[in-house]
Subunit: 140 residues, 2 copies
Amino acid sequence: MDQLTDDLLTIQQVADKTGLSTHTLRYYEKIGLIQAVDRADNGHRRYSPGDVGWLDFLKCLRSTGMPVREVKRYAELYEDGDQTLAERRALLETHRARIEADLRELTANLEAIKYKIAYYRELEARATGGEAETLSAVSN
Amino acid sequence: MDQLTDDLLTIQQVADKTGLSTHTLRYYEKIGLIQAVDRADNGHRRYSPGDVGWLDFLKCLRSTGMPVREVKRYAELYEDGDQTLAERRALLETHRARIEADLRELTANLEAIKYKIAYYRELEARATGGEAETLSAVSN
DNA sequence: GTACAACTTAGAGTATGCTCTAAGTCAAGC
DNA sequence: GCTTGACTTAGAGCATACTCTAAGTTGTAC
């Protein structure tokens, strides 16, 4: 059970490769995030390189916060072929805008946290005897 | 019920100001993310400017993905006074590193999505008759 | 004095996304 | 021929974080 014909992978191999658990891989298939995967004669899943590519992109969408139902919509559009290209692109562009907004917010909040860290550092320095420049007050 | 003495705010005013729902404000207090808020004679909450400042920072921590239990830990340390400064700072620095990692991942995934969008754009252009440069293949 | 709106509580319910369990099949190695 | 390990299924369970409900109190406005 090591070298399969073609480049077909077992569910465990795909789990190792993608970082998704075998549970999650079956779950994603069940809810339609990935189309029915081919089976070996014994009923075991055999993932094609295309399946793995899709899973990689799916992971990218999920880890950037696209909700499962939207990934599912995207997957459905994909199955409907080329006539859905524009709609798929629109979906991705909406998501892209969301990510860019998230990045801006995350960056701004990061600055606030860095500022607080600097403030704490100053308080600690003062507590251990040193005298320092004063950052404008930020409590808590 | 408009102008209260001092700068104390009702729960609704704080909700409007912070964007957290009144439900969430009570929930946060119940689970210890914010210490017991002062009460008016009738038992209604009266939020001080300090409470609001803490809620703002709390929001910053939560929206950057710090888990509730960790925010709670931070809140507890804060209540224990100055001797917890170093620990609080350590907590924030760990969180900061997490945010920076998230930013890197988000940025990388954004690039992949932008690339896919560009690929779709090219396919669409080709479909409507135009001939274009070929981006190296990315399916799905 | 009664309607109304804003608040109070404890605790139940919901949304999202997995994650795990139980029972069973199957092929390979000893 | 029996153990072992990887797989299969349906469906239950769990983690996180709210979000809402029901029943009750209070204070002002008419």
